[in-house]
Symmetry: C2
Subunit: 345 residues, 2 copies
């Protein structure tokens, strides 16, 4: 576990509480090691994690991460010094993010009820637009030019598509939506489309639709019930997996799994929200994103019943707004909400 | 006027009808020349427009464009053969897209009323992520690698920011939101942020907020009333200016102005929607995006009263769903809706 910064350190204990409750219930042996890697570490040592950080983590079955980021540390240092290297070095090429409308949660869309919104965003998590290739010329002058390279590989695109097709194939509706922008971004995006077409030939039962990212964001608002599994590049998956929780009113409770499907390296589980410096230190952060991520971790480690018991506890708890933190209209503290869920497990 | 393809050719006559009605009312002299440049032209000649197309257009005060795109013509041919070169050769570096919730339009968001959503997206329109720099190696093999370059220049970023700050400064709330993704895209996006900070020093009255694109899309859904002027790169502006109309239920009526603020070259006015092959040929396309774009054209050419009279006519017409095309719950044809608006002007 890497609690990280800000509310990361506040929601982590509640995540652990829930995971341990589920482990007790199903007789699962679990043990934790704590890593204090964070922006504070960087301010003290100039590194977000030790030089052998990746090696240290590699002997674990999973990484459970709170949130990283601090106002006085540039994002591209905190994130490219910790989060992104973990995703990449461990080839966690899948970022899986469920989007679901729950009973008890007030939805910003008109006339939607639980069941209407229930899909997965499968995000490519290792390459694409998030590249450190690029740089500047004529820095600081009026003639400054900055280039930024995106890199897409056949292997990289195919492996995320395969995961997304497999997931779609397992679901009752078997629908896959792919997000590109091949009319504007004319090298990488048509390539992605070609890979989708080729992969589709191996999954005749899966219904595939290709969307441009612009209209897809509008569709998330106007017809979210259309979507079942949505696959996109690192950047497009990032956008869609914030907008998704956005349309269900649940950014604070959204989880994510950074998965290495081969099992060669540990996978990482973290809430979608960040370190939220504006509310940090008050004990009012919503721990559900952390807890739900813990459920995904247990499922990934081979304990689906433990996952399900946490999800049932979350669903039950959400029904009563008195249980909830202020962001969801309640008055509970982080710890109180975490205790309610753990008790319900 | 370049009607283009699909419903572009159907909504164009209604755009002209409205513009001419406003010109008659305010005694404005207007004349049109018709260009049949389209995917059909490409299928016949291998070019979307003649070799001297840009030169031909350069003697006009404005370009009025319907929509381009045809199922059998790859998007990167139709768009990079016509739309994108016009935007670039004429240095139409502003893509201005108003987002407004109207009375009579059913909003997909819960509890929003006209007035709650009223902002502009200012999109960089000449550089950035839409670049034809890049290519492939090991084509067609399992080792294929595709690179795609984004290019941002100080001049390019500063000129769109200046326009956006000026626009924000003129509006009562004086708020500017800037969209980046500087935690993930670490060369170009921090550069954009720096340019924003520098430009902000010249506009002390304008309140500036920087957002990451992912959370900004969620905010459009959860608190659209926050936004006044939103500025973003070519790609982020594209996404936000589809999501914007998406949250107001009005993709079909959204307009856009591709502006060259120096006046050295003509500006171009076009609806946000595309050629919509699925409904083309039925006479049911909604012409309001085209008509509203015509109003923006008249405003740009120096006739604000003509713009206002078209906008009043659109607003009045929207109040009664019987006036509207099927996409907005009415039964009117394209021509009937166009006639209602023209009569109301
Ligand atoms: C058709 C496409 C290239 C275009 C764009 O992305 O610029 C369109 O989506 C738009 O917004 O005008
Ligand atoms: C913090 C940032 C780099 C990160 C990302 O964009 O990947 C975050 O937004 C996420 O979605 O996990």
């Amino acid at each position: 576990m890497i609690p990280g910064d800000g509310i990361g350190t506040e929601v982590m204990p509640e995540g652990i509480r829930a995971v341990e409750a589920a482990c007790r219930k199903f007789d699962i042996d679990i043990s934790w090691e704590w890593f204090d890697w964070s922006c504070e570490t960087w301010l003290k040592t100039g590194r977000m994690m030790p030089e052998d950080g990746i090696e240290q983590l590699s002997k674990f079955d999973a990484v459970y991460l709170g949130a990283v980021g601090f106002p006085t540390v540039p994002d591209h240092i905190s994130l490219w010094g910790l989060l992104i290297p973990i995703r990449r070095e461990f080839e966690q090429y899948i970022n899986l993010r469920p989007v679901r409308l729950f009973e008890g949660v007030s939805c910003p869309l008109a006339n939607k009820k639980p069941g209407d919104i229930d899909f997965y965003v499968v995000r490519e998590n290792c390459e694409g637009e998030y590249s450190d290739i690029g740089g500047r010329i004529y820095s600081g002058s009026d003639h400054e030019v900055v280039v930024q390279q995106s890199v897409f590989t056949k292997r990289g695109v195919n492996r995320v598509l395969k995961y997304a097709f497999d997931l779609a194939h397992k679901r009752p509706r078997q629908q896959l939506a792919s997000a590109t922008k091949s009319n504007g971004i004319i090298h990488s995006m048509p390539f992605w489309d070609e890979c989708v077409e080729e992969m589709a030939t191996h999954y005749p039962q899966v219904k595939v639709d290709k969307y441009h990212i612009d209209i897809l964001t509008a569709n998330f608002v106007n017809k979210p019930e259309t979507y079942d599994v949505v696959v996109g590049s690192n950047l497009f998956g990032d956008i869609l997996s914030d907008l998704g929780p956005g349309i269900t009113g649940t950014i604070a409770i959204a989880p994510s799994a950074n998965i290495n499907p081969t099992g060669d390296f540990p996978s990482m589980f973290e809430p979608v929200h960040g370190s939220a410096p504006d509310i940090a230190g008050q004990g009012i952060a919503n721990p559900i994103g952390m807890i739900w991520s813990g459920a995904m971790m247990l499922e990934h480690l081979g304990y689906p019943e433990a996952h399900d018991s946490i999800m049932r506890a979350i669903e039950e708890t959400l029904k009563n707004s008195e249980n909830l933190t202020p962001d969801m209209g309640g008055k509970a503290t982080t710890a109180q909400l975490g205790e309610t869920i753990a008790a319900s497990i």
